[in-house]
Amino acid sequence: MALFWVPLLTCSGSLAALFTQRLGRSACVAISALFPAMALAIILMHTKQVFDLEQIRFTASWIPALGLDLSFRLDGLSFLFAILILAIGLLVMLYARYYLSAHEAAGRFYAYLLLFMTAMVGIVLSNNVLQMWFFWELTSLTSFLLISFWNHRSDARKGARMALAITGAGGLALLAGLLLMGQVVGSYDLDVILNSRELIQSSESYLIMLILVLIGAFTKSAQFPFFFWLPHAMAAPTPVSAYLHSATMVKAGIFLMARMFPVLAGTEAWFLLVSVTGLLTLLIGAYVALFKHDLKGLLAYSTVSHLGLITLLLGLGTDLAAVAAVFHIINHATFKASLFMAAGIIDHESGSRDMRKLNGLFKYMPITATLAMVASAAMAGVPLLNGFLSKEMFFTETLQQSTLGSISWMIPVFATIGAAFSVAYSLRFIHDVFFNGTPGDLPKTPHEPPRYMRVPVEVLVALCLIVGIFPEATVGKLLASASIAVLGGDLPYYHLHIWHGFNLPLVMSILAMAGGAAIYFNRHVLFRIQANFAEKNESVIFDNAVKKLRDASRWLMDGIDTGATQRSVFWLLFLALAFTLPPLMGLNSTAGLRPQLPLDPVMIAGATLLCVCSVATVIWHNNRLLSLLLLSVVGLIVSISFALFSAPDLALTQLSVEVVTIILLLLALYFLPQYVRNHSSPGLIVRDLSVSVLIGGVVGTLTYAMMTRPLDSIAEFYTANAKLLGGGTNIVNVILVDFRGFDTFGEITVLAIAAIGIYKLIARMRLFQPSANIEGIPWAKDKHPFMFEIISQALLPLALMVSCYIFLRGHNLPGGGFIAGLITSVAIIQQYIAHGNDWLVPRIKLNYLTLLSSGLLIAFITGVGGFIWQQPFLKSWHDYVDIPFIGEIELASAMGFDLGVYLTVIGSSMMILANLGGLTTADRLRPQNREAK
């Protein structure tokens, strides 16, 4: 449980920072720092257990079926990283208190910082790789927010965007790699993965997995060729650089490689990929750092170079190299964070970071200068400081590998050259800034920073010294437990001493020192050579690449989608054809073995009429009224065929829907343009004709093939239980209101949504109303013929009675809520047509919206009713009741549901038609008139 509190506390700290913002910077930092301090205390409480090589775990089950648990673990490696993250985080928070000015949003800054801290501890403590990946991406997001903290600056925004794009893309690669790993191992649990070395390394996808995971690590840790985002991220406030870009986030990639070291390392591929990348990064970073005039630029490239060094060590793959890597992680975090903070102090107190202006600052800020000099010396690898120890170990390891065969000697040589450059830029940092003349044209007169701004630097520099002099006593156990976690087994023999005797690594160190000094004092030669190369701005290159990508995707999209609906629909249909034709070709014969029905003349006549009318609809589709009439003939024959082939319910529904649809379309004719333009070119017509004939052919073939094959239906259950469980003999109706009642409930909801959508579409519609037909003949004067009025009025009660009858018998005989609702609607619509809107509105006091919603509500309540008797949603109940004079009738809860369906259908169809019809009346704009409906 305790482990779970660590990310939870830092996350709560983030909220605390937001809430205490208005109390001022000091209060804000004091309160929000309590949370990571407590988290650090929790971690430190486990010190003894970790040093005794125990692994502490916390697991809470989340989605066990998917192998997703909330799962944390603490071992030596995560212990080391958690301490680095939380302790340096606290120092950075103190430092930032003085770095940020009073008018900046300190609360927001600390909220981001603590959120980032949460993500980092999440990565190092996760015991599930997917969970780790989640936190990994969270660091990308929060670092985006932190880098762009000064979001008024364009370089900050660009730098943040670049960092997010590179590390985010790397994160996706990592996810793919982790998913592959999880597939191979069969678990996403880190414990299981770490024990599956043989399984992973012998799997076919090992190389892909390795490359994907390494892309994730390399992008995060700014390795070649992805390192360019890191210098641009220096647009961030300096506390962010000190924290993210020296001690934590860039180390996440290193952490990942160290974490996966037991399962991924030890192969030829690992050695080549990781060590060559590390070596290249080490050299390029060290070389470029020397030429940066910007203090933070120098430190950024130096960070790139040191990260390359650690990567190279991990790449070497030997046990001792891994120990050296862990040791250098600790050392680099301490000296680089302090150097960044010192650079921030110089920037803060002198107003510039340009080393061409910053000279001779020692006079103005002697204490800061001394601290920075010690830290730089550690970076250069001067004896008695921690950087020296890990660098010696590094040299030793480069000498002891022989993996490159006869050219293995190159690695120590390049390592020495890299170290020499590292000495050179460290010297430049010290000599250029603090000595070498007097300050140039600075915006401020430099002076010492506030007392407490220096404290974090002092703490870190003191650590550099203490670790450098008493390595075994200070970090011995920490290093040992972390190294064991990396190696996943026994610790090799090593001893942390300052003096190892006069040996080859020491010679390399001396060479690097002398070479570094020589390079620095002859740097003008190098600067001249470098001036011959045009300086590349990665930001511009990156922007251009993004622009090209965007242009390419736009070009592709414009090619696929021209914005023409007809074209899109055509391609959609074409694809449908392309997918359905091949399987049909695989069918041996079109006709199956099922016996077919005999033909009779009536059927032939009906079919002929149907086909002729369909084709005629197409031929005369520019003649609107004629095509509509032909279409209604098709609809009628469809309903007749339902009746013929034993589907009375469908026939009734189709018939009533047909009436409503045709009335609706007739109304639409009034408003739509009277001319139907022919927009199509002959080529287009041929294209559409061919695709539609082909599709018709496919559908016809499918229908025939399906109908002539034996039926293996799942309907037996419904047939057997309709009476028993549903209490009705009309199986279709029982299915609708009982067995599949939930589906029906969904369907009437869709109907209601469509009706309400239509209501909104109509509400603000301003339509042109023609006063005459296409030939200029005005509309008939007698809108509501007397005979029609009388007959329809007489028909109304009759129609309502029929619908009532259809509704009541629906459970046992053809009928039910859908059909009854449609019949009632038709009866009411008839009144509208016969008498007109103006006459009817005051007489028919029905609010269709209320009708519709009460229908849905009734259906819902009937469904929920089951809960009272501890039954599932829509569980039906039925019984027989004896009513005097009428006799025994059956009451089923499904009847209530059907009533809901009935009301919804009336409400929806009337809302559509009455509102549309209302548009034709002259006073349609009067709001209260619309309200009445």
């Binding site: 098709v634 034993s646 739509l672 539609s692 399906m706 109908m707 039926l711 859908f818």
Partner: protein, 120 residues
């Protein structure tokens, strides 16, 4: 009979698809209506064709498969809602855009340049 039925479904599909590919909204509405008839018949045919076998329980009579019928019944009603929605949408488009082309701008009028946003 099955062959004739399949032929009818095929014909209706063809006509529906062709009309749905036209440029003016009313033709598209006609096409979709025709297409939904065809689809309903196709789904219904999933239960095979039988005469005089309505799915009403009576003792000792053979009945047809009720399941496709239940599916098609709601499909008919939803199809009506869809047709209505498209019709009203077409009318609204005509009211707001002044024409009845499916893209809102007929090809014989000068076509507005399709704008992609050029923000970076």
């Amino acid at each position: 009979m099955e062959l004739l039925f399949a032929f009818c479904v095929g014909t209706m599909t063809s006509c529906g698809v062709y009309l749905a590919l036209r440029g003016s909204t009313f033709s598209v509405v006609l096409g979709l209506t025709l297409l939904s008839y065809a689809v309903n018949l196709f789904l219904f045919a999933g239960g095979r064709l039988m005469v005089n076998a309505a799915p009403i329980l009576k003792t000792g009579e053979q009945i047809t498969d009720p399941l496709p019928q239940a599916l098609v019944l709601t499909a008919i009603v939803i199809g009506f809602a869809m047709t209505a929605f498209i019709v009203i949408l077409a009318m609204r488009a005509r009211a707001d855009l002044g024409n009845d082309h499916v893209d809102g701008d007929p090809p014989d009028f000068p076509k507005a340049k399709r704008g992609g946003d050029n923000r970076s």
